[in-house]
């Protein structure tokens, strides 16, 4: 058995680890803020009071829907959450996929309603932070505020990446490399993971036809850059994929 866990398999200790007064669970997006900024015990305790553990949600369960009153942001502890909107013609637009350690609901901060839907793609566990309380706390704790800004700007940056005039191969490679890096940042394997979203979701997100997603992946597989078995992916030619993805990711 290898030491690195492949996503979305999780080390049960991660979820069992609800943290304590000093330490947040290792997957938490705020853990870095706490550790790096050296929050004092009482601040940590205050932040911890805001956290509510939610889940497990199952595939298809909504975390929130567009128009719901915004009252909290949530950090993913396990699983994948998809955010999307439905346009006036009833067409779905996928905004993003949120992995363990990442925050959903940030794009609601400037209003009082969620501007999108969030749905669980597999078994999802969440930490819910009541937003009014979080912002009050953030005004007292500069470290927390800084982390919030950081998370928000990262959220905006992510949405921009696919707006360019990139080829299907470049988009696909960028998607895989970005996915891989985000997983690696959370301690998962960078080269083996499960794509927890359906190909229609990937296609929608990358603005490609579903058939194109499959065709491109087949070609990348034939070229020996990756191997796919059902939803399990192995990135064999990480360097070549990174080169292909570089313009999109602005590496």
């Amino acid at each position: 058995m290898t030491g690195v866990v492949t996503f979305p398999r999780f080390d049960p200790s991660v979820v069992a680890d609800d943290g304590d007064l000093r330490r947040f669970c290792s997957t938490c997006a705020f853990s870095q803020a706490c550790v790096a900024e050296g929050m004092d015990k009482s601040s940590l305790g205050d932040l911890h009071m805001l956290v509510e553990h939610i889940g497990p949600l199952h595939e298809g369960d909504h975390v929130f829907r567009e128009g719901d009153r915004f009252d909290a942001i949530a950090a993913v502890r396990a699983g994948t959450v998809k955010t999307y909107i439905i346009d006036d013609d009833g067409r779905e637009h996928v905004l993003g996929f949120h992995l363990p350690g990442e925050i959903i609901g940030l794009n609601a901060i400037d209003g009082d309603r969620y501007p999108c839907n969030a749905v669980a793609l597999d078994t999802v566990m969440l930490c819910r932070f009541s937003f009014p309380k979080l912002s009050t706390l953030a005004s007292r704790l500069p470290g927390l505020q800084k982390q919030l800004f950081k998370l928000m700007s990262r959220d905006i940056g992510k949405a921009l990446q696919l707006a360019g005039d990139w080829s299907a191969d470049q988009r696909m490679a960028a998607f895989l490399i970005e996915f891989s890096r985000r997983l690696a940042a959370r301690g998962f394997s960078a080269t083996r993971f499960r794509l927890t979203m359906a190909r229609t979701d990937i296609a929608n997100y990358l603005r490609l036809a579903p058939e194109t997603v499959s065709r491109v992946l087949k070609r990348l597989q034939d070229d020996g850059l990756l191997r796919i078995e059902r939803r399990e992916v192995e990135l064999v030619g990480l360097k070549a994929l990174e080169t292909l993805a570089a313009p999109v990711l602005r590496d």
Binding site: M1, T2, R192, L195, V213, S214, R230, R231
Partner: protein, 465 residues
């Protein structure tokens, strides 16, 4: 081929599944229905590279009963019955495409039975038209459209018609040419007529011909079976299946017509198997695994050599990784991690279709342990070995720890020279490859865990040899 010690083989002649699937059909349950099948199909469309499709069509009718048969079939001489069956079959075919994305092309299509050629070539052509209308058939040269033929009820001219419809593989039932055996099993089949059908298949350009033989039939002798093997190997079908007859009259009514006193003893049965192995080996056939042989240049032998061999309800195939849709009474589908089966009685199947429902009556969703064991048994059946490192990586397990019980059960088989056990490799020996199902049974979670000396499992399975 190894020398076979009769004592050893007798010890391993225990009932067990043939593992055309794992888990096996007795594990299916009725809480898996239409809704679950639709969900499974939708999920399978969501794979980054959705699997291609395989189609299986079950034609249950036979003109006369062969007494050895354990298939789901209906005996009738009334050809008109096929018309009402086909009406429902077309409806079932028309219900399926909406479940599957259009870019999932069909790479394999197989007609089984019963006797598919109970239908006329015209009718079979209509079924193919219906399939082609509803599904997108691959243009790949590897695409297979195959049919099981009863050579007694098809003419060379009809074979030419079938080839024109698109059939490029045929599997012919022979069993044994010996007159006494044929009388005892109620299947009188002429040698010359059969050879004429093999020739017709070849002349009409079919890519591959399979012949089915059975050992262990009533009145069967080494001399008679040797003659059959000589005739068949001389005709050089690309593939040969040599099945052991499973006498289970409590389960299969037709088998009650067989006098158990006419059956060869266990000793004689082993002799027949050994004879078949020696003759086929001498004739240049390669052993693929689990009753199957092929010529060395056949796709099957090539697939085995390059690791792409696969096993499903239709037997061995070169088309790994396809989702299987079964049509017709009793047919089984395998979509994603699920199995589902149509009703085994005609009335229930018809009633479901007349109601506009997908006629699934039972099935199951495999859990992760099922998938792991299915992968393992698949590799064993096809490559004769267990890819320890690959399974450990894929399922995040420690093989020796996870399968400690199985490996303990396997230990006596290693002592008997059937498997070699190393830290990173579990492989069947040449001898062990004749007893793959015994090896696989050690890894079957659903069997009584009596070890290599397995208790007769419930539900009843046929014997290993």
């Amino acid at each position: 081929m190894p020398h076979i010690d009769p004592d050893l083989l007798r010890r391993y002649d225990r009932p067990g599944p043939r593992y055309t699937s794992y888990p096996t059909a007795p594990q299916f349950h009725e809480s898996f229905g239409e809704a679950q099948l639709r969900e499974a199909a939708a999920a399978s469309n969501g794979d980054p590279i959705p699997r291609r499709l395989s189609l299986y069509l079950h034609i249950p009718y036979c003109t006369s009963p062969c007494f050895y048969c354990g298939c789901n079939r209906i005996i009738t001489r009334d050809k008109a019955r096929s018309e009402s069956y086909l009406v429902r079959l077309y409806r079932e075919i028309a219900m399926m495409p909406e479940l599957f994305d259009r870019d999932r092309d069909v790479i394999q299509c197989h007609f089984g039975g019963g006797t598919p050629n109970f239908l006329s070539p015209t009718q079979l052509g209509e079924v193919m038209d219906s399939l082609r209308h509803n599904f997108n058939f691959s243009n790949s040269s590897k695409r297979d459209i195959s049919i099981e033929l009863d050579p007694r009820f098809v003419t060379p001219a009809e074979v030419t018609e079938l080839a024109a419809i698109g059939f490029n593989r045929a599997s012919l039932g022979v069993q044994d040419f010996d007159a006494d055996v044929q009388a005892a099993v109620n299947r009188i089949q002429d040698v010359d007529e059969t050879l004429a059908i093999i020739d017709a298949c070849r002349d009409s350009g079919m890519r591959s011909i399979n012949v089915d033989l059975i050992y262990g039939l009533p009145k069967q002798t080494r001399e008679g079976f040797a003659r059959t093997l000589d005739i068949v190997t001389k005709a050089r079908p690309d593939r040969l299946a040599v099945y052991g007859y499973a006498h289970m009259p409590q389960l299969f009514k037709a088998q009650r017509q067989i006098e158990s006193t006419d059956l060869p003893s266990a000793e004689e049965k082993l002799g027949l198997l050994q004879l078949a192995i020696e003759k086929l080996d001498a004739a240049g056939y390669v052993y693929i695994g689990m009753d199957h042989f092929s010529l060395p240049d056949d796709d099957l032998a090539e697939a085995q050599a390059n690791g792409s061999l696969h096993r499903n309800f239709m037997g061995y195939t070169t088309h790994a990784d396809s989702d299987l849709i079964g049509f017709g009474v009793s047919a089984i589908s395998h979509i994603g991690d699920t199995f589902s089966q149509n009703p085994r009685d005609l009335e229930a199947w018809q009633a479901a279709i007349d109601d506009g429902r997908l006629p699934v009556f039972r099935g199951m969703r495999m859990d992760e342990d099922d998938c792991l064991r299915a992968d393992l048994i698949q590799a064993l059946m096809c490559q004769g070995e267990i890819p320890v490192a690959a399974l450990e990586r894929r399922y995040a397990i420690d093989f020796e720890q996870y399968f400690a019980d199985s490996l303990a059960r396997l230990a006596p088989m290693a002592a008997d020279g059937l498997v070699t056990l190393a830290h990173d490799r579990v492989a069947a020996t040449t001898l062990g490859r004749l007893l793959l199902r015994n090896i696989a049974m050690c890894f079957d979670r659903y069997l009584d865990t009596g070890g290599a000396g397995l208790k007769p499992a419930s539900p009843p399975y046929s014997h290993a040899i």
